[in-house]
């Protein structure tokens, strides 16, 4: 203890010197890059207070009211609203189909490490465990590092306009996220109960069923529901690239300057998202 306290100040000064030097350099680089970017990004605060801007904003805000509530319009929007929900449900279902198998293989404790593999040979550990593990980790990170918006853009090119590309986009992007998080949940369980079951002579499946699954399942369900909430928001957004649902209607109305319809559509979207949040919140509270 005494030795540590005498050594500490001597250690600290060079470390803090290099730290503050780093801060200066970093600060300078940051300031210069902001200054340069302001020009390239064409940031011009004067535009915000210019007469034509204000007139545009006023026109837009005035246009929102009163919202379009005619029976005909609402009737027409029923389908896109339903479509948004359906895109999110089917998209999440596909994400689960992608995420579960890849997530299981991407779980080290299931494929090559820990109590379940105590007697696996080195060859089996690598060939049947580690290699698929790395491959599926890689696939999952590719799936989730490309935003669903970009996926939708590509799928629209591939399969044409409509809800289907939206479903695929959510399925692939969210499949990547679900798989990653599933594997983290499974690896994060307390290993002691697993060893206890193994010590009592349980088979590997027995250890999984009585030790791993009950510890992980509530979190897996909760996270899946959370992703479904995100999916309904995303499915509205995906409509902007032509992937169906409410988003496509919002985009159409915007382009036609029918801002009163935009307000109605936003209100419908709000109700949908709030309902889904409520439902999944209740299920999560019940499961965990």
């Amino acid at each position: 203890m005494a030795r540590g306290s005498t050594a500490a100040p001597a250690d600290r000064s060079p470390a803090s010197a290099s730290k503050s030097a780093f801060l200066w350099v970093f600060g300078a680089v940051f300031a210069v890059s902001v200054a340069l970017s302001l020009r390239t990004a064409q940031v011009d605060p004067r535009l915000l207070v210019e007469g034509s801007t204000l007139a545009n904003v006023a026109r837009f805000v005035r246009g929102l009211f009163p919202p379009q509530l005619s029976r005909e319009f609402l009737g027409l929007m029923l389908r896109p609203a339903l479509e948004t929900v359906q895109i999110s449900v089917v998209g999440t279902a596909i994400a689960i189909l992608i995420g579960v198998p890849l997530g299981l293989v991407a779980t080290a404790s299931l494929t090559w490490r820990g109590v379940l593999h105590e007697r696996a040979s080195r060859v089996a550990r690598w060939g049947l465990g580690f290699v698929p593990y790395v491959v599926s980790r890689g696939a999952l990170s590719v799936f989730r590092s490309i935003p669903e918006y970009v996926w939708a853009f590509m799928f629209v090119r591939a399969v044409g306009l409509g809800p289907f590309p939206g479903v695929l986009a959510i399925g692939v992007a969210y499949g990547g996220m679900l798989g990653k998080v599933y594997s983290e949940i499974l690896e994060g369980v307390n290993p002691r109960p697993l060893e206890t079951l193994q010590a009592a002579g349980a088979s590997r499946l027995g250890v999984v069923l009585y030790g791993l699954v009950p510890q992980a399942l509530p979190n897996v369900i909760a996270y899946t529901l959370y992703r479904w909430e995100c999916a309904i928001r995303a499915s509205a957004l995906l409509g902007f690239v032509g992937a169906g649902g409410l988003g496509q209607q919002i985009e159409l109305s915007m382009r036609m300057f029918q801002f009163d319809e935009v307000l109605t559509l936003l209100a419908i979207l709000f109700v949908l998202v709030a309902t889904v949040d409520f439902i999944s919140g209740r299920i999560r509270a019940w499961v965990v």
């Binding site: 206890t196 009592a200 088979s203 009585y210 510890q215």
Partner: protein, 274 residues
């Protein structure tokens, strides 16, 4: 039952947990292991319950070399050994009934095990086991809602369902209050006695070991220091066993003074009040 020949365990980081232990333990014997913390007792037990493999030496169970067992034989051998841990090692989110019935996993097929998770199979047995440990009313309680002492009883009920030939208890009473400590030790002793099970117990409390066991093994630095009947275990031997370990030395003084009733095992841990 067990035969250990110069067993040694070195962990991946190079630390030697068990240096050189040779022991023979017969069927139906009751043996207590005592020694300072870090002596290698828990590691020894993990080798005895066949979850950890010795780095060197031979571990024989009923005359057969454990390292030579096939996967299926290893599973069968493990099913004959019931372990009770210091921490309860139960799945908190499962109901008590499933944690108790998990004692069946050594004989159940996977479909049976799965079916029982949905509709518990053999609840009468589970209830009887819980009744033996004094908490029959907790059958359908969620395990993580029980106190530390109650969870330890659930762990014992699971071993009852497993019905092994050997019971290994690794400091089973270090997280329960003093009166319960004696109850649990005597319960395990009586259970083992009536069905002629071999009982091996790690104990932090010297007094519990000397009072309830006919054979006491002192372990220090991964080696057996003595292996004697309790009346042959002198104060000098104990002082040497615990030399340099302050807590345990204090325990010995209190035992000599007669101020402490059940020894160090009864110190309640944080979170486990009476």
């Amino acid at each position: 039952m067990y035969e250990l020949r110069s067993i040694r365990k070195v962990f991946g980081d190079g630390s030697v947990a068990v240096d050189d232990i040779s022991l023979a333990i017969g069927r139906g014997e009751h043996v207590a292991f005592i020694g300072p913390s870090g002596a290698g007792k828990t590691t020894l037990f993990r080798m005895l319950n066949l979850t950890l493999r010795p780095s060197a030496g031979a571990l024989l169970l009923d005359g057969g070399e454990v390292a030579a067992l096939s996967d299926a034989e290893l599973r069968r051998a493990r099913a004959r050994i019931g372990t009770i841990y210091q921490q309860q090692n139960l799945v908190g989110r499962l109901r008590v009934v499933h944690n108790v019935l998990a004692g069946n996993l050594g004989r159940w097929s996977t479909p049976t095990a799965l079916a029982s998770l949905i509709r518990p199979r053999g609840t009468a047995d589970a209830e009887r086991a819980l009744a033996r440990v004094g908490i029959p009313e907790k059958l359908y309680a969620r395990t993580d809602e029980l106190s530390g002492g109650q969870q330890q009883r659930v762990a014992i009920a699971r071993v009852l369902i497993q019905d092994p030939d050997i019971i290994l208890a690794d400091e089973p009473v270090s997280s329960v209050d003093p009166s319960l400590a004696v109850t649990i030790v005597t319960l395990l002793r009586d259970l083992s006695h009536e069905s002629r099970k071999t009982l091996l117990m790690n104990l932090h409390s010297v007094e519990l070991a000397l009072t309830y066991f006919p054979r006491v093994v002192g372990v220090r630095d991964g080696r057996v220091v003595f292996d004697l009947a309790p009346d042959k275990v002198s104060g000098e031997l104990l002082a040497d066993l615990y030399a340099g370990h302050r807590d345990e030395e204090a325990q010995l003084e209190q035992i000599q003074d007669g101020t402490r009733l059940y020894g160090g095992a009864c110190r309640p841990l944080a979170g486990f009040g009476k």
